[in-house]
């Protein structure tokens, strides 16, 4: 089995005048090619920090990240990052927003533009390419944000609470939408979320992190009996509840 991401002994300490915050400790796991992995954990356990470290934005205090066997030292073209909100720029049209990553990487070529048009067409935003973000619905905006990432042709997608800014119904629909796009484009994905149901419904494996300092508490292989797996169908699978219960107990939530 080929691993595209190896997370090896990652530790992270934040320094501040009030002392030191031990955010992550000895995190180890690997992600296979084409796999969808979710990371769940209580808030403040360093999930998003972990994602920033994997992306190369944030150097870890200890440990290494291997990307296709190579050590990560900075941001890479192989990684596409999706943030909590779509962060489409109000002053750019949808097409211009989609081209942002390519512009930054100075990779705007006629072929790249063609690819952007193709993606916009495939995912139903072509007619909106000259509109501004505030003319689109929340779901469409999220899709545009995904296309902005996909057009740079990343091998691995990092989704940082990518759906948590949406209302519940939109969120279910966007889950469905993004999941099918990721599977269709055959991307490897790592999703960070605090929503247990979302993590099970989308992932092949769920990694449960403990409270701060975050460590890997458990890893669940998700196998659900549904013919054509989609997030909604996963939620209806008979095994879903058991996974939910286990992870819920694991997270040990106290109010």
């Amino acid at each position: 089995m080929k691993y595209v991401v190896n997370v090896h002994n990652i530790g992270m300490k934040y320094q501040s005048l009030n002392g030191e915050i031990n955010a992550l400790e000895k995190i180890n796991f690997s992600v296979r090619d084409g796999e969808f992995v979710s990371i769940v954990g209580p808030s403040g356990c360093g999930k998003s920090t972990l994602l920033s470290i994997i992306s190369g934005l944030l150097p870890p205090t200890s440990g290494t990240i291997l990307l296709n066997g190579e050590k990560v030292t900075g941001t890479s073209n192989k990684i596409g990052y999706m943030l909590q909100k779509d962060h489409l720029f109000d002053w750019r049209t949808i097409f211009q927003n989609v081209m942002l990553g390519l512009e930054i990487r100075k990779a705007v070529t006629p072929e790249a533009k063609e690819r952007a048009f193709q993606l916009l067409k495939t995912y139903g935003l072509y007619d909106f390419r000259n509109k501004y973000p505030n003319q689109l619905s929340g779901g469409m905006r999220q899709r545009a944000a995904l296309i902005r990432t996909l057009v740079t042709d990343p091998q691995i997608l990092l989704l940082d609470e990518a759906f948590s800014a949406l209302d519940y119904q939109t969120r279910l629909a966007v889950n469905e939408d993004i999941y099918s796009i990721i599977k269709k484009e055959k991307k490897t994905a790592i999703l960070v979320t605090h929503d247990i149901a979302e993590s099970i419904s989308m992932a092949d494996r769920v990694i449960v992190l403990s409270k701060r300092p975050g460590t890997v508490k458990n890893i669940y292989e998700i196998s659900l009996s549904c013919d054509n797996r989609t997030p909604l169908c996963s939620r209806e699978a008979p095994e879903f509840r058991a996974y939910f219960q286990n992870i819920w107990k694991e997270l040990d939530v106290h109010v």
């Binding site: 934005l57 900075g74 941001t75 943030l83 962060h87 720029f89 002053w91 930054i104």
Partner: protein
């Protein structure tokens, strides 16, 4: 999406639209009425010697002062000099201020070092520096422009810098996830995102530039509207003072409208 353009508007909607329009017209008419009434009363009171036109001047005298100035061929010279000084000061203040704000955003160290100086310079009444500028630069248009700059520069820096700081950190992170450099963060996010702040700074600067120019002209000049006001005051020619003030008001309003128009032009396609 909107049904405003549909031909079959409901009678309620038509009524509503008519009412909005009527209210708008009423407001304009009242505004016009106040203007005309004020000037008419001023004219009548002055003509009937209820108030002393030597002290209050009067609209007809202002008109004849304008035509006198025009016949002497100096009207547009004075207006032109003042407007030129204001525009130069305004442009210099805004561009230098924005540039310095960019430098301070770029280097957190410089920003922290300069903070107390900016605070002190911001609270200092810049007019107090007038005599210093005159001695250093000499009595002339250069000193006036420096005065204008002194008044508008610091506030521009602070405004633009706070605009930069208010930009969503996540938007900056987005650019960084694509491997963007600091310069790209500046050009792709900060400047476009703080565009409304910069326009606001422009609006404030229009007013401040006029203050700077008039104060500068009070202190040093031999031409311009500020000079006419001071000169008129000294020789007790209130007609000249009032005329200059009114021309000044019109010019300043026009320039402000210019900025508003510029804003609309640049923001128009974003709605």
């Amino acid at each position: 999406m909107s049904n405003l353009k549909q031909a079959n508007i409901s009678p309620e909607h038509r009524n509503y639209l008519r009412q909005v329009k009527r209210e708008k017209i009423l407001i304009r008419l009242t505004q016009l009425f106040i203007l005309i009434a004020a000037f008419s009363l001023w004219e009548i009171f002055a003509s009937l010697k209820i108030v002393d036109p030597f002290i209050t001047s009067q609209p007809s005298r202002i008109l004849s002062t304008i035509s006198n100035l025009y016949e002497q061929g100096v009207l547009f010279k004075h207006i032109g000099i003042t407007c030129l000084e204001t525009i130069v000061g305004f442009i210099l203040g805004t561009t230098t201020g924005t540039l310095i704000a960019i430098i301070l955003w770029w280097s957190e160290f410089l920003s922290k070092v300069s903070e107390p100086y900016l605070v002190i310079l911001n609270s200092l009444p810049k007019i107090a520096l007038g005599p210093v500028f005159i001695v250093w630069i000499g009595a002339g248009p250069a000193a006036i422009i420096v005065m204008t700059l002194a008044i508008s520069l610091i506030i521009t820096i602070l405004e633009v810098l706070s605009g930069f700081i208010a930009v969503d950190q996540e938007k900056i992170k987005l650019v960084q996830t694509f491997g963007g450099t600091k310069f790209q963060v500046l050009t792709k996010v900060l400047l476009p995102a703080s565009f409304p702040t910069i326009i606001n700074a422009l609006k404030i600067n229009v007013g401040l530039s006029w203050v700077g120019v008039i104060v500068g002209e009070f202190l040093v000049s031999r031409a311009g509207l500020g000079y006419l006001i001071v000169y008129g005051g000294q020789v007790f020619k209130l007609d000249l003072v009032m005329t200059s003030v009114i021309i000044l008001g019109i010019a300043a309003a026009l320039m402000y409208q210019g900025v508003v128009y510029l804003e609309r032009l640049l923001v128009k396609n974003k709605i």
